[in-house]
Structures are given as C-alpha cells and as structure tokens.
C-alpha cells in the first residue's frame, strides 16, 4: 500500500511531468488562462493518460513484447491513443452534451500533448506491472492537473497585474512557470527515486 502511495506522490509532485520531466508544456502554456478551462483540461487529460497507460501496457505485453516488435512501439502507441481520443470525443459529444461542454471539448487538444505518449513510453522503460503502470499514468496526470491548476490561478492574477509591455503575456507566464519550478525544487530528494 505504502509503496503505491509513494509512487503516486513521487510521480505527481517530486518528479512532476511538467516541471521536472518537461512533458505537456504546450497545453500547460496554452490552456492556463482561466482556472475553469484548466480544470476541464486537467480532468480530460487525466482520463486520457490513465487510459493510455493501460492501453499501452496491454499493447506492450500482449503484442509488442511477445512478437519482439519493439520498433513498432511509438507507432502503435500513438495510433491507439489518437484513435481512442477521437473516439471518446465523438462518443461524449453525442451521448452527453453536458459532459462534452465541460470535458469533451478539451479532448482534441490532448492529441498534441506529448505527456500522453511520453508517459506511456516511460512506463515501458520502467517495466512496471499493470497496476503500477496505471498508477504511474494516473499520478503523472494528477501532477499535470495540479500544476495546470496552480499555474492557471497564477495567470489569472497575472492578468490583473500591470506587467511592463515587454513582458506582458507569454514572457511573464514563462517567468512565472520558471519560479513555480524553482519552488517545486523544494520537493527534490524527498523520496529517493
């Protein structure tokens, strides 16, 4: 139990996908202008990453490893992820317009989130079992969501500040995420990897 908790904590905070592993930066910069959008994006991403972690584990262990097709890993992972995302989006859109409004509309954005593929590939590298793989995916996505939410909160305040013209918008946002990652360095060494 403890082991699983530590894994979750370490993937979510200490080895945060965005701030430490540098994955999923584009949506972090793109969808962080409002907390509400960030929340929707975070939840949608959590869903997809967890799904991708599970799917890629199955692909790896049931198809790629037995047939020694490691060189098809990137291709098959991304294919399955892209198709799954697109399918989920279409399905939600039709079946639950309310859910689509709050989550579904963020799904297409996820195709270009490299954290999805990144986490799936890292997962294989770590050689986790199924449960741990899923947990790893979920923890990473949780870390993504946390950073996205905090960052969106900061950017909402940033939008109200009288930032000098040269820095307003993206430059100030980058400085802010820089300071945020500086703060996250305090977590380093907390749990030996």
């Amino acid at each position: 139990m403890n082991e699983y908790l530590l894994l979750l904590l370490s993937t979510a905070l200490i080895n945060n996908v965005v701030l430490v592993k540098f994955l999923g930066l584009c949506p972090t910069m793109g969808v962080s202008k409002s907390v509400d959008a960030a929340l929707g994006m975070g939840l949608a991403t959590t869903f997809v990453i967890t799904l991708a972690a599970a799917a890629s584990w199955m692909l790896e262990h049931w198809l790629l490893a037995p047939f020694e097709l490691g060189f098809l890993r990137i291709l098959s992972f991304i294919l399955v992820i892209a198709a799954a995302v697109q399918f989920t989006e279409m399905a939600i859109r039709k079946t639950s317009p309310a859910l689509y409004e709050s989550l579904g509309i963020y799904l297409p954005l996820i195709t270009t989130n490299c954290a999805v593929l990144g986490v799936a590939l890292l997962n294989v590298q770590q050689g986790y079992g199924f449960l741990k793989s899923v947990l790893f995916g979920f923890g990473s996505a949780l870390g993504f969501t946390i950073v996205l939410l905090i960052f969106a909160g900061l950017r909402e305040r940033l939008a109200l500040a009288s930032v000098p013209a040269a820095f307003s918008g993206a430059p100030a946002a980058f400085i802010t995420i820089s300071l945020l990652s500086l703060a996250f360095m305090g977590f380093s060494g907390l749990i030996p990897a």
Binding site: F71, L72, L75, L79, S188, G189, P192, A193
Partner: protein, 211 residues
C-alpha cells in the same frame, strides 16, 4: 484545383463507411513495411553500438591492455549482500587476473551507482560513477568528468590503508571530502570498501571459475 471532377469523385468516396478502415489499414501496412525495413537495416548496427558502449564502460575502470578477453561475455553471477551481482572476469591468456562489478550506496540524494575493478590481489584498479543524483556542484565531484577525486582509490586495498582508515578525513580516515559535501564521498568510500570485502569473500569463486 485544376481537376474539380476528380476532386469531387474522391470527396464522395472519402465519405463512404468502408473507406476509413481501408485507408487506415493501408497507411498502417505501408508504415509497417517501412519500419520493418528500417528495423532490418539498423538491427545489427544498434546491437553493435550497444555492446561497444558497455564494453567501453567496463574497460574504463582498468588500465589499457590489462585484459585480453571479452569482458562482456565472461560473467559469473554471485550473491552479494544486496542480491545477485554480475561479475565480469578479466583474463589474460585465459588466466583470471581481475574482476569488474557494480556497487552502490545511498548518497545524499538517492543511490550512487559505481563500477569498480579489482585485481587478483584485491587491489582497486579503478572506480567510476555510473549513475548518481547528487547535487551538481557539490556531490557530483565524484564523477570523473568533474574531478579526479575518484582516482584516489586506485591501488588501495583492504590492508592498505588499514580498515579503520577506510573513511573520509573528517571521520578519521585517509580520504578527502569536498568542501560542504561530506555525505557523498562518505557513501562512495563505504561502497568501495564494501566492494573489496565482497571480492575477498568471493575471491575463490570469481577467480576459480572457468568460463
């Protein structure tokens, strides 16, 4: 845009239900073929690169020309204090003259993994850090790329210095520490000493074993 009719024709076909699986399957087929070809073309260079990579690390810890066998394949699997250890045996003209194996110890921030080579008399031939997460600028001086400190172990054995002296200077030993960072060197010293102890305990099996 010059042939609007064909365009329209394609557009009509594109919308058919059966078109999607065929299109994706064809793309996958082509992709699969291309990759299979690429895989075939790169398979042996990759294997060679990986092997030479490993071999380079293994030979780094011992003087050039110390061994004439392929360290990579000459392996005995032994029980160490922390589980199985793969020991690569170095031979000259078939005679075992030393061994190379991995050691590890908890440093300041996580494990410091090292590779060490010992000669048949139990003297250190060389030590290298394989992996560490020590603070850059402080603990990372154990890395040969940052400082030659690690060379200080070469030639040392369990007898020399005396067991009590196998420690950093601050703890009454002979080994230097870095300014502001004692934990990392302490861990490395402990690891190397552990490695020597492991070697002396398993000496017979390592040197006696035939490949």
């Amino acid at each position: 845009m010059s042939v609007p009719e064909t365009q329209r024709g394609i557009a009509a076909i594109r919308e058919r239900l059966g078109y999607q699986p065929v299109l994706l399957a064809v793309s996958a087929l082509l992709a699969g073929a291309a990759l299979t070809w690429a895989h075939g073309a790169t398979k042996s260079p990759i294997a060679a690169a990986e092997a030479s990579d490993l071999r380079a690390t293994l030979t780094q810890v011992m003087p050039q020309g110390f061994a004439d066998n392929d360290l990579l394949t000459d392996v005995v699997e032994l029980d160490g204090a922390r589980g199985p250890v793969r020991v690569h045996v170095a031979r000259r003209a078939g005679t075992p003259v030393g061994a190379v194996f991995r050691i590890a110890e908890r440093g300041y921030a996580g494990e410091v993994a090292l590779l060490m080579a010992v000669d048949a008399d139990g003297r250190v031939l060389g030590v290298r850090v394989l992996k560490h997460a020590e603070t850059p600028g402080l603990g990372d001086k154990v890395d040969r790329a940052k400082s030659p400190w690690i060379d200080g172990f070469t030639g040392k054995s369990l007898a020399e210095p005396a067991p009590a002296q196998w420690a950093v200077k601050k703890d009454g030993g002979v080994f230097d520490a870095f300014a502001g960072a004692t934990i990392t060197p302490r861990a490395v010293v402990k690891a190397v000493r552990g490695g020597l102890e492991f070697f002396s305990a398993q000496r017979a099996q390592i040197l006696g074993g035939r490949s």
